[in-house]
Amino acid sequence: MKYDVIVVGGRIGGSVSSLIASQNDLDVLMIEKRQEIGTPVQCAGGTTYSTFKTLDMKPKKKFICSEIKGAMAHAPDGREINIFEYGLMVDNLNIESPSKGYVLDRKIFDKHLAIQSAKAGTDIMVKTTAKDLIIKDGRVCGVVAKHLGKTMEIHADIVIAADGVESNIARLAGLENPKKPKDIGSCAQFELVGLDVDPQWLHFYFGREIAPGGYLWIFPKGEDSANLGLGVRSSKNTAYHYLKKFTANLDATPVELNIGGVPLSGPIGKTFTDGLMVVGDAAGQVDPITGGGIHIVTSCAKIAGEVAAEAIKMEDTSAKTLQRYDVLWRDKFEDGLKTSLKYRRAADKLSDKDMNALAEYLVTNHSEKFSKLGAVKFLGKHPHLLKLIKEFL
């Protein structure tokens, strides 16, 4: 078997890059290790409007669970902060505010994208795992795949690795190493029925007792259910332990449990080599603060599909040509992701007491529009925060 492009992984990064490559008349194969695209879900489903702008696609009712109008942060002491009202989200990072957008049904959305890709001409093999890369004279020229116990070599001029957090393909190509545990968000989530939440508001809870090294989220899925999940890092107990603890006294019942690891270390050093591009979680195209990345991955995967098409038309799939993918996506997102990582590392040093103090300051000073005098007074009371704020700046 020989294709122009093989895409490994059939979630958003894989389906978008294969869709764009097929729309540009390439012969494309996408392989997915699971037997059903979209499952199991490993995501809370929140994304911004820009995802659909990038895809030039209208958001459809069948995969939009809720349209989000705002978000509330809950400090460890219970103090509430309206994130949108305070403009606290990362407006200057070229990362859209997550407090406005949609909650997607990822099962339906992912499959919808795969269907669009198939309609554009992509061949799809499910229940097919990429076991190895075919590398000849230092260039990637296909994958060794296994389907129902049968191993086969599938050749291609370009392989696009969209194989998720384990980043197996990038490792086989020598582009990535194992991650440190502190750079992985260990996540567990219930889809809960019966939770009494406003379907247009997201909620984020912070605190060492709730989600050490991370945060807990509630993303409503319409009137009847919500994704309630959390991510922890380097914690004593498992993510599931904290999930059970938080939900123990809620009058709601789960209909689904999702788990996953989210890469929070920012982008990998190099996302291309001869005959290979890396997209999505595998490339670290995830915001290190929020763990969100749907709109980033969508845009990066689109670029990968376009660059693949250019390279095939030029009959040059060398690293020199595919580097254009790396340059284009970094130009769009790298500064934001790196700044976000810097912020996260500074925020890692905040104790619950610090977070409560900051929340109190923000709530108290809201009407005064953050006067310089107010800030000086606050930092005078909390001098150790001054050092952290310098790191932020």
Partner: protein, 58 residues
Amino acid sequence: MEYKADRCGYCAACVAVCPHEILKQDENEIIIIEGCDDCGKCTIVCPLGALNQEEDYL
């Protein structure tokens, strides 16, 4: 490293951090190849405690 398949959700977070690259993921299976030195990194990131966690972690 003791792997409890009945507590595994196959998310591959463990695969992402294994420094010896001896953990591999198939569709519904985590495969442990020989060579584990019990460094414990996979234990830290496993959301469900499938890797050598005490029962009371749940």
